[in-house]
Each structure stands twice: as C-alpha cells, then as structure tokens.
C-alpha cells in the first residue's frame, strides 16, 4: 500500500468525476500545519495525500483485526460532495442522507457543495446560494464551519484556500486523535513492560505504526524519535537475561549488510518467539532511521550513526562469531561501510553546510573507508596476500591490534586442493621481502596480532594438544624450530620463518592430527570465505593479487582523499604513504615520489623522526630510480641528519658514501643542497670578535658535522650578515683551514677581510663536496650540541663579529711646546700614544718639510713616556721608564720596536731647521716686525700599523724654531764729546737658560769703538746668564767716525757675535744641540746684524710757538699766532748764507682763516743767537680741538729745524659767544 494519507470522497450526488481532476490538483498539500507529538504546530510541506472514493476496494478488503493494526492507514478525512438545486429536495432527501453520513463521530468530514449553476444564469445561481445557505445553517456549528461551496463553472481562489484549510483541519484532527490513541496504547503496554505477558512484538507494532503515521504525515523528526525509542527498548529487551535467542545472520546473503535496506527481509521472517532476531532487526531499525534521516536531508548524521553502528555491531557480531560463518564479521563490516559510503555520498551535496559540518562528513567518510580497508586487509592476509601488504606503521598498528577471527573451528582444508596449496606456496616463496636501499635492515613490523599459524591450528578442535606444544614451544616462541622441523632443507630467512611455509607435499589429504601449514591455512580460509561471501563482485576482488590490490588502492585512496578533505592531514598523509608504497611496488615511481614527498614533508615538518625514518629510505629509493639527483641527495642528507639512534652507524655510513659518491660522480651541474640540519655551526663561545674599522681578523667558527665519518670538502666558506641590515652584502669568506670535517665538533677559522663597521651575525655556511654545493643555515646552540640538532629561529642570533666605528687608534703629538733653536741640531719629540690598539710592527714615516732637515746620521731615541697623569709608582713602569732605545732611521722611516707597541712612547729625532737669512736686531730707528710663521717648520708624519699595516695615521705637526736671542739696541746717552752709549738688549727667546760667554760687536763703517777697540762691551760681565724670558743689556761705547759717505753708512750692518751656551731640557724646548760629532764644543755662536743709524744733524734753526695772548680762543675771534725763530748756530755752508728766510704758514682752510700773509721772507742774521718773531693773524672757524696753523721754513731742511713743540699739537677753540655773534665789541 502506498504511503499516502487517504482522503475519502463521499460522492452523494455523483459529482466526483466532474471535480476529480481539480481536487487531485490540490494534493500533495502544499502547506499544512500539523501538530507533532509534543502538540506543537509544525508546518509540513508537500503533504502527500490521495483522494479515494468510499466505494474503493482498498477500504473494503480489510479484516477487522487488520484494520486495528493498520488503523493509521484509515482515511484521514471524508469529503462529502453534494449538489442540490431545490430547497425542498435538500430538506427532504439530501439533509437526512447527509446527517446519516456525518453522524459517525470517528470520522472527520466536511461538505463541499458543488454549484452547477452557470454564472450567467441568475436564477440558478440564486437558488444554489439559497440551498447553500441552508446547508451552512444546518451543518456548520459555532465552533467549526464544515461547508464550502464549489462553483463548477469557474471556482474562485478563495474556495481553494477554504478547501485546503478544511482538509488540513480534518487531517490534523484525525492525526491528533490517532496519535493520542497510539500513545495511550503504548503507555499501557509500557506499564506491563516487566510482566511476563509483555511482548516486544506488540510493542513494536504500536510503536512502528505510530512512527509510520508520523512518517506519512511528513513528520519525520517524530518518526525518527519513535524509532530511536524503539531501538533503545529493543536493546534493553535483547540484553535482558533470559532464554537463549537466535542471533540470525545465517541466511544466504546475510553477509551483505542490509543496514540501509529496511525491506531486505520481511519482519515476519525474523520474528522469533516474542522478539525479533537481533542481526536482522538491528539492521532493520537502522535502515528505517537512515531512511528518515535521508528524508530530513541529514546524510551526515547517517554517516555518523552508521559508523557508530558498524563499530558497535561489529562487536556484537564478535560475540556471536562462534555461530556465524567464517569471517562473517569482517565481510559484514566491509559491505556495511561500503554501503554507507555509497548512500551517504549520493545524498550529500555539501552545498549549504558549514565548513565544520563539511569536515565532519568527510572525516566520517574517511573513517568508514579506513575501517573497511582494515577489514579488507585482514581478509586478504588470511588468504595469503599478506606478503603483498606493506608493513608500514599504519598497517601494522591497525592489523596487529586486531584479533584474529574466532570461529568455532578453523576451516579445514578442502579435499583436492593440493594445486591451490601449491599455488599459495609458490606465491609465498616468490614474494621476497624487498631489499631496502642502503642495506637498511629493520625488523618488519608485524601485520598480525599473533601468529596466524598458531591461531588457526589452535582452533582446530581435533588437533591434539601435544602436537601443538611440540610445534610451538620452541625457545623463542617464534616457531622457528617448528619451521626447521618441517623444512629442514630450506634456508630460513626471517620472512620465511614467520610465514612458515613448508615444502609442497604431494599428499592431498591431511592426516587428521597434523597441523596445517600456512599455505594450507590460506587455502582453507579462501574456501571458507567463498562460502561466506555471497556477493560475487566482492569475492572477485579477493580472487587474485591484482584484484586485491585494485580494491585495496580504491579503499586507501578513498580514505586518504576524504581525510584530506576533512583537514585531517595526518590521517590522510599516512594513507598517501600506503598509496605510494603500492605505486612503488608497481614501478610507478613518479606517483610514488609525489606521495612519499607529502608524507616525508609532514613528518619532517612536525619532527616525528621515527616515522620519518620509516618512509624516507623509500622516497630516496624512488628518487634514485628516477635519477632525481637533487632530490636523492636531499633525502640522503635528511637521512643523515635524523637522530643517529634511528639508524645503525653502518647504515649512516652508507648514506654518507652515497652522498660522496654522487657528489664526485659525473653530475652535469652543480647541485645546490640545503644541509642546514646536517651541518650546523655557531660562533665560538665567549664575547664576539671585535675588530677595529679596516682591520682584518680571524674568526673561528664551531661547525658540527652530522656525517658519521670524516668528510672532505672542496671548499668551505662563510657568509656573515650585518645585523642591522637584512641583505647579505658580504661576499663569502673562504676558510683557509684544511677541509676535512670530523664527525661532531670542528673548529674552523676564517680570515676576515676588513669589514664595514657594525655587528655581524652568522649568515650561512656554504661549501662544496665534489659537485655538490651545499649551504647550511643551521645555527646550533652554543655549547655542546645534543645528538639531535635543534634549530631555533626564535632566538636572536648572537653577533659573532663586531667591527667598531672608525676611531682614533693612535695619537701623535709633539712633545715640546716651546720653540727650538734655529739652525742647530735639535731633538724633536713625538709622543706616540696607542689608544687601546697595538702598534706592533708599526712604521713611522717622518717627512720633514721645507727648510727642515732630519739628520739621518743620528739614531732615533725611543723612550717610555711618562705623562704627567701617569704615575711612576708601579714597578713595571719605573723599570720601563729609564729605558731609551736607539734605533736607526732610514729614508725617514722608523720601525717601532715591539716593546713600544702598547705603551705610550716618546720618539726623539734630530732635526735642523735651516734659516739662511741673517737675524736682524731691532733698534728705534729700524723697528722690526717679527712674524711667528718665520720660525715654523712642518713635519708630516705617517704611521702605518695594524696587522697588515692597514691602519694609517697621518698628521702634520708644526714645530717652532727661533733664534736664541732677540736683540734690540738703543742709544742710552749722547755725550757732549760725541760719544754714544749704545745699549744692546738681549732678550731670551727660548725656554732654557742661556749663558752668554762673549759678545763682540763689529761696527759698521761710520761708527767706531772707543777704548780698546776690540768690539767688546764696556764692562766685562761674562759669562752672563740669561734666564728664560728675561733680558740682559750690554753697553758699548762708540762714537761716530768721520766718514761722509752716507750711502755706505746706510747700507752697512754691524754684526753682533754672541758666543753662548745653552742649558735646557729637550722636553720643554730648546736645548743644547745634538753634537754632530763627538767632541764638538758646546759653545754656540749667534750672529745678528744690527743696523746703526747715525744720529740726526744739529739743527741750525729753532722755531717756537708762542703762547696765545688771550686765555681762550673763540670762533670768529681774531687771534695772533706768533712764532719765534732763532738761529742756533752759524751755518757752515756758505750757500745758505743769505740772511733772509722764507716762511710759510700752513693752515687747514676749514678750520682757520688766515688773515695776513701766508708766506714771505723775513730777515734773520746769520749770527748765532739771532732771533725774530713771525706773527700771523687768524680766525678760528670751528670750535673744538683743532690743529693750529703751522709755520714751515721750506728752504731749510726739516732736519735742521728744532721745533717746540716737537710734533703737531692741538689748541682749544671755544664756540662763539652767544649774543655777539660776529660782532666785535666796540671796546
């Protein structure tokens, strides 16, 4: 029967055929509001329903008791179809008939009045309206309207709404009533739950009816809940202790899980006593639930419930394994999983679900696939394909923890199967355990919980215990002895031992008490499985290795893909590894590499080295086969860098030799390789190496080699990177050391060329092994590194090198501050002060400038310098203090001695400043300007130092040279007799005591000494000691000699020869000159030229300015200027013997107005003592201090005139009187 709600049509007036079409157009009901079990309104879409007539055979065929069972299938509403065109007819015929129909309260009904009247026929329409009004009055109640009117000729939209709502009302009411009824029944039954009369079947019928009813009404949630409750109830009833019940699952085809097919078996087939058989019933319930969940569009829940169900039910099957066919459980799980996967994927569109739900779904798919895969592998192992299964951790973990099937008795070998046994035997023998690359010998991981051989034979009931113990109680329990007993002539490889394959025997039937051999077990299992498995397709996938691998691949891929989609990358990647293994086995290396790389990348990123060590050799092998040199090398390096405990040293050596072999083989190109994990390096402990700007240095780096043996490198270089900037602007620094890296710690030094200032951290270590150029970024931590290297990029790397900013490394200053003696060999001291820097091997270039000569014949003296700040207290320095080393100077170069490299030293070297000009003395007549620059001499110094003389210090220093004395002269007195007292003043110019021993003055012509005439001073005071900066005077008595040659007098010089000695300290300044030759007298000679001027001639005229007659001068007031002119002596020259003198008055015309003759002749007698006065009247024009007019005598030379006052002078002129401007008073 279809799962529809039935709506009966009571066709009172034979109208059904007329309206059938339009009525059936209303179902399924598009929107219906129903009440769910909790009496809450629920809107249901597309409620399926079907109209049938009350006369329908389907309603009649049921027996009464059946009607009780299938009550939920009874019609939900009755539609009474009537028409009437006459009131009387309605009253008399129709109304009683309708009353009869609707009096049955059990039914929900409503009346549809069909109006046949044509809209154009007013009469008929009116009539129909009247009748309908009557109908409404009779059948509508206050609570409920049960009538509606259908216009045959064009029903309006309102009618259909009305119709729908009435129909839904009816359905809802019916449903409510029935649900209530069922619930009461169920409650009643539940109360009897623990009484003996309780019968699960009855309960089930009620429950399922209710569920079914809900399902029909599209109330799937409620229906699902009923099934869930039913399942719970069943679980309780089935686990309750009681009589033994049949489990089921023994029918043909039961091995194929029916958990998605509720109609797989009729319920009547599985009923047993008062309860259902568990095997079938549980699947049935699950199938019903799954069906509802699919209807609710919840395939994810199906998958989730399904997985749980399969796992749970698998356990249940295990409990009943005794009674079930061989490996029934495994087969069932496989088919169940596959079924679930198929149906859920087809129902899942993944469109409108959240990402988490999506992930969950794929995870469940992955779980189902992987469950299926494990069981499938178990079956395959049983029938002898175990040798083909990769012994990876995942397979091993899955299978070795999964117990063997436990049938009541292990299947025995069928007769006439010797050929098959042979076949299996052959397969086992042919399969060789794969030789791993690098001779890696590892115990293969087990794929079995315990030995299959032992397990199978133990379960053979008829095998005697004695035999068993004989077979297995060997020393190590591994069955080795048993194997050797059975096959003494066979070389017992490890694998053979485990599979325990004996020689193929010709005997076909086993003696009853002989234990089965492994190949026999396989054959027996295969036969038993053929019995168990009903699906030929499934069986065929176990029929041959190829088929098995095909299916195995399918399942593995399915699991891997789904895990990847669910973001369970670890699960997914592990299975990728299995796929890779299969590809590898089939020589599909390209694909294998791809998958293996994924696996290795994951393990290596997450540092699970043990797992990585398992797959990495496989990857390496693939890469080797594919000739992927770079990849292969990288894999080898990775293998080497794994924890050394994971591989034996022999294996590690094999890795290394492989790397070396490849590196030196004929690779076309340089292969770059990152060996960061294998070769690590760090700066040596302690503070970083500090270098001065421009200095090279040696940086030692600790390099840890992860190679098991010494490895020879072609080159090794280091890159440093400045910590301030990111770029590795520095080119690689090659190591000069020998290039053999020992395993473990190596210290390698690098010569670092001068670097820019800044601090540097280690960048990368690069090098070459053959054609392999490797690069390592691995920084190991300081100190001894554990066996496993640890890379931390989080720690800030420590600078290994600091190059300081350029700074003064040395300072050279002159040691003397005061002037040295000119033209004498003098010591110049240089203070060479290293500033925290060794001057070892330094060379000092001294380049004397112009007019300065270094006496290379002399030795340079170097001594320890004791600055005034330094204390001579320490014994060391005092010992050093006295030391003076003499070293030669060559071409202006001095090599600094080693002892002087770290201490401040004083370097003395002799120089002679040359000044060819003759020093001149100073006199009042010839004042001299002395320039400091004259005595300056420059010395250019250049100090080359540093390890490679890379540091240069240059400086030019100025040294001041001077004469010992500054000489000036003056005439102290002039006697009447013409003698002159000439004082020569010697002023010491140096900071040293001068001893004047003798002075001699060679007078120029025109002068002559008085007295002895030897040119010595008047008094002999020698030796005369002149202290620094002090003066001494020496008096000479001279007189003018009578020469007339003025030119000669003007140009000649007198020479003053001073013999002197000097006692000074070279550290302060001038000192006694270095003796050029031994025995040189210490007496020095200083010559200086003096120019003496003859005294001025005697004046013959005197001009005196006479005081003014008035007290004060005023502007505009006339004043008489008077000069008196007196002849001092009679002129000797007859030429000027006239007694007239020309005078001239000079006045500034702006200041003075001269009111008289400005020039003229006055008469003055030639006799000595004659005098006269010249008066000139002037008017001052401006007030203030002004020069008065001057009287000049142009004809008489100025030298012959003695003036009083001698020089120009000023007079005070007052401003004019206030009221009398320019008016001369009358008085």
């Amino acid at each position: 029967m279809a799962d529809f709600l039935f709506l009966t049509v009571e066709d009172v007036s034979d109208l059904w055929l007329n309206v059938k079409e339009s009525f059936e157009g209303r179902v399924p009901v598009k929107k219906a509001c129903l009440n769910n079990k909790a009496r809450n309104p629920v809107f249901v879409d597309n409620l399926p329903a079907e109209f049938i007539q009350t006369t329908d055979s389907r309603l009649r065929s049921r027996f009464p008791q059946e009607q009780y069972l299938f009550w939920f299938r009874e019609p939900y509403a009755t539609v009474v179809l009537v028409t009437c065109e006459d009131l009387d007819e309605f009253k008399t015929i129709l109304k009683p008939r309708l009353k009869l129909i609707v009096q049955n309260d059990e039914r929900e009904w409503f009346i549809v009045f069909v109006s046949k009247a044509h809209p154009s026929n007013d009469q008929a329409s009116k009539m129909a309206k009247k009748v309908y009004a009557r109908l409404e009055a009779d059948f509508n109640t206050k609570k409920r309207e049960r009538c509606c009117k259908f216009d045959l000729h064009g029903p309006d939209a309102e009618f259909w709404d009305d119709f729908d709502s009435k129909m839904v009302d009816c359905i809802r009411n019916t449903l409510d009533r029935r649900v209530q009824f069922y619930e009461e029944e169920i409650r009643r039954l539940s109360e009897q739950r623990f009484t003996p009369i309780w019968n699960f079947c009855n309960f089930f019928i009620l429950k399922e009816s209710l569920a079914f009813m809900f399902e029909m009404s599209n109330l799937h949630e409620d229906s699902l809940r009923e099934y869930d409750e039913l399942e719970l109830c069943y679980s309780e009833s089935v686990t309750s202790p009681g009589k033994h019940r049949e489990f089921g699952g023994l029918d043909t085809g039961d091995d194929q899980a029916a958990l998605l097919n509720p109609g797989f078996k009729a319920l009547t087939q599985i009923v047993q006593d008062d309860v259902f058989r568990e095997f079938e019933f549980r699947q049935y319930i699950f199938a019903c639930q799954a069906k509802l969940l699919f209807k609710l569009s919840r395939p994810i829940e199906v998958a989730a419930r399904g997985h749980a169900f399969v796992v749970g039910f698998s356990k249940t099957l295990a409990l009943h394994e005794n009674s079930l066919p061989f490996c029934f459980r495994e087969v069932w799980v496989i088919t169940a999983c596959l079924g679930l996967i198929k149906s859920t994927t087809s129902h899942y569109d993944g469109g409108a679900v959240s990402i988490d739900t999506d992930k969950e779904f794929y995870r469940l798919q992955g779980d189902l696939y992987s469950l299926c895969r494990i069981k499938f592998m178990r079956l395959a192992y049983l029938i002898g394909y175990g040798v083909e299964i990769e012994k990876s951790p995942v397979n091993s973990a899955s299978l070795s923890m999964l117990p063997w099937p436990k049938p009541a008795t292990w299947p025995s070998i069928p007769p006439d199967s010797s050929a098959e046994v042979m076949e299996k035997e052959k397969m086992v023998l042919q399969a060789k355990s794969r030789e791993k690359l690098f001779d890696i010998h590892r115990k293969p991981l087990p794929l079995e919980p315990s030995l299959l051989l032992r397990e199978a034979n133990r379960r053979r009931a008829f095998l005697s215990v004695g035999n068993l113990s004989e077979l297995y109680d060997s020393a190590d329990g591994s069955g080795l002895d048993a194997n050797s007993k059975l096959s003494p002539n066979r070389s017992a490889s490890n694998f053979m031992t485990r599979t325990m394959s004996g020689p193929a025997t010709s005997e076909t039937s086993l003696p009853v008490d002989r234990p089965m051999r492994l190949s026999e077990i396989h054959v027996a299992a295969e036969h038993a499985l053929k019995q168990t498995i009903s699906d030929p397709d499934f069986m065929s996938s176990l029929s041959s290795v190829e088929e098995f691998e095909k299916r195995y691949m399918e399942l593995t891929k399915g699991a891997a893909d789904n895990y990847h989609r669910s973001w369970w990358k670890r699960h997914g990647v592990v299975l990728d590894g299995e796929i890779a293994a299969l590809f590898f086995k089939h020589g599909n290396y390209d694909l294998a590499v791809k998958s293996y790389e994924k696996v290795c990348a994951l393990y290596s990123a997450e540092g699970w080295e043990e797992l990585l060590a398992d797959v990495l050799p496989d990857l390496a092998e693939c890469q080797k086969i594919l000739n992927d040199e770079a990849g292969y090398l990288a894999s080898c390096v990775k293998l080497l860098s794994l924890d050394s405990t994971l591989f034996s040293s022999k294996e590690r050596q094999a890795f290394q030799s492989e790397v070396v072999r490849l590196a030196h083989s004929e690779m076309k190109y340089l292969v770059p390789l990152d060996v960061s994990s294998l070769i690590t390096f760090a700066g040596s402990a302690g503070p970083p190496l500090e270098l001065c700007d421009g200095d090279p240095g040696t940086l030692s780096i600790v390099v840890w080699s992860g190679f098991p043996d010494d490895i020879t490198l072609e080159s090794l270089s280091l890159r440093l990177s400045a910590s301030s900037s990111a770029d590795e602007g520095i080119k690689a620094i090659k190591s000069s050391d020998s290039h053999v890296l020992k395993p473990g710690r190596n210290t390698i030094s690098f010569d670092i060329p001068p670097q820019k200032p800044g601090s540097y951290v280690l960048g990368a270590l690069t090098g070459q092994i053959g054609k392999l150029s490797f690069r390592s970024h691995g920084f190991s931590q300081d100190g001894p590194v554990e066996t496993d290297e640890f890379m931390s990029f989080e720690t800030p790397t420590r600078p290994v090198l600091k190059v300081r900013k350029p700074r003064a490394l040395v300072d050279i200053t002159p040691a003397v501050s005061s002037a040295l003696l000119m033209n004498e060999l003098q010591w110049i001291g240089l203070i060479v002060k290293p500033i925290d820097y060794s001057l070892k091997g330094g060379i000092l270039h001294i380049d004397a400038g112009a007019e300065l000569k270094i006496e290379e014949s002399q030795m340079i003296e170097i001594e320890h310098y004791r600055g005034d700040v330094e204390h001579a207290s320490s014994a060391d320095s005092s010992a050093e203090a006295g030391r003076v080393e003499k070293i030669p100077i060559e071409n202006g170069k001095i090599k600094l001695p080693d002892w002087a490299s770290d201490v401040t030293t004083l370097v003395w070297f002799p120089v002679r400043a040359i000044d060819d000009t003759i020093a001149r003395g100073e006199s009042p007549a010839s004042p001299q300007k002395q320039s400091v620059v004259d005595g300056m001499r420059m010395i250019a110094l250049k100090l080359e130092f540093g390890v490679f003389h890379n540091q240069v210090f240059e400086r030019t220093i100025a040294v001041h040279f001077t004469n010992p004395f500054h000489v000036s002269t003056r005439v102290v007195d002039k006697c009447n007799d013409g003698t002159l007292l000439l004082q020569v003043i010697l002023c010491s110019e140096v900071k040293a005591t001068l001893h004047v021993k003798d002075v001699q003055l060679d007078l120029q012509s025109g002068f002559e000494h008085l007295g002895k005439g030897d040119g010595r001073p008047a008094s002999s005071l020698f030796p005369l000691v002149v202290a620094p900066s002090s003066r001494a005077g020496i008096l000479f008595i001279i007189r003018l000699s009578g020469t007339k040659d003025l030119d000669e007098v003007e140009n000649a010089d007198s020479m003053l020869n001073i013999k002197y000695g000097i006692s000074g300290d070279r550290t302060t300044g001038a000192h006694s000159p270095v003796p050029a030759q031994v025995g040189d007298s210490e007496e020095l000679l200083f010559k200086i030229a003096l120019r003496l001027k003859r005294p001025v001639l005697d004046p013959c005229l005197a001009v005196g300015f006479l005081p003014f007659s008035t007290d004060s001068l005023r502007v505009g007031q006339l004043v008489n200027m008077k000069w008196r002119v007196e002849r001092l002596k009679t002129p000797e020259d007859s030429n000027i013997s006239s007694d007239e003198i020309l005078y001239q008055v000079d006045a500034n015309p702006q200041n003075w107005m001269v009111a008289g003759r400005k020039c003229g002749h006055v008469s003055l007698s030639n006799e000595q003592g004659s005098r006269m006065e010249i008066t000139v009247t002037c008017i001052p024009l401006v007030s203030g201090y002004v020069h008065p007019p001057q009287l000049g005598l142009p004809e008489v030379g100025e030298v012959n005139i003695s003036c009083n006052p001698a020089g120009p002078h000023l007079v005070c002129v007052l401003p004019p009187a206030l009221s009398t401007s320019y008016c001369i008073p009358a008085a």
């Binding site: 973990a397 923890m401 369970w568 670890r570 997450e606 797992l611 931390s792």
Partner: protein
C-alpha cells in the same frame, strides 16, 4: 601500572619534544613505532578538539583498537599525549597535572628554550616515577 603507556610531549608546532615509553609491558621496538604513529595521528583529533573547550585536560580524544589517547593541553599549546589502555580518567588526570607542574619548572628555566627538546634527565626520572605512581 598499565601495561601499555606511551607518553609524549608535543610542542605547539606539533614537534615531539619528549618521549617516554612508560608502560610495564616489555619494550618492543615495533610497538614504539606503532605508538608513535597512533599518537601522531591523534594530533588530527586534538587540533579539532583543542579549540572547543577551555579545559586543559581533554580526556580521551582518540581510540585505536584497544588503546586510548588522552591529551592534556598545557602552557603555550604544548600538549601532553598519553597512549594507554582503557582506564579511568582520574589517575591520568593526576599524572598530567603533576607532569604539568614539572613542565612549568622546565619552562621557567632560563636556559631552556621553549619548544626545544627536553633533555633533562631529572625530568625524565620524575615523569617515570609519576607514571609508576598513577598509571
């Protein structure tokens, strides 16, 4: 003491930084391999689960055949993972809490770099002692 127990500390980058087989069962090398595999795969579950709860003790997050993986989310996403036979949570929780204390001490060591391998033998001894006590 449980027959099988494998304890691993996994850093936040999923790198194992401490491993110990603390079960009483005789140590088999192939088993260690499997344990590693199971624990590693369980990280998939942990990564999903860790963000759904505030609790540090995540209880048993994964089962593999008869073995259970329990996880404790310690500081800075360092995870303690224990593979063990099915048993009650209490002992495991206490074990984890005490190891947590130990780990904090290691963590506070200025010479220990967070995320690096724990090589302290003292730590190892203590963990094994705790395993004997609680598992």
């Amino acid at each position: 003491m449980a027959s099988t127990a494998c304890f691993v500390i996994v850093s936040k980058n999923d790198i194992p930084i401490y491993e110990a087989e603390v079960g009483s069962a005789p140590k088999k090398e192939d088993l260690a391999h499997q344990h590693q595999f199971i624990l590693h795969a369980a990280l998939d579950v942990v990564q999903d689960l860790a963000w759904t709860t505030n609790a540090m003790f995540l209880r048993s997050v994964d089962r593999f055949s008869d073995l259970v993986v329990s996880v404790y989310d310690s500081v800075v996403h360092t995870r303690f993972m224990l593979l063990h036979d099915p048993r009650s949570d209490d002992g495991i929780k206490s074990f984890f809490q005490e190891v947590h204390e130990l780990y904090i001490k290691i963590f506070l060591n200025p010479l220990y770099l967070p995320g690096s391998r724990i090589t302290s033998s003292h730590f190892d001894t203590k963990v094994r002692a705790l395993a004997r006590k609680y598992l």
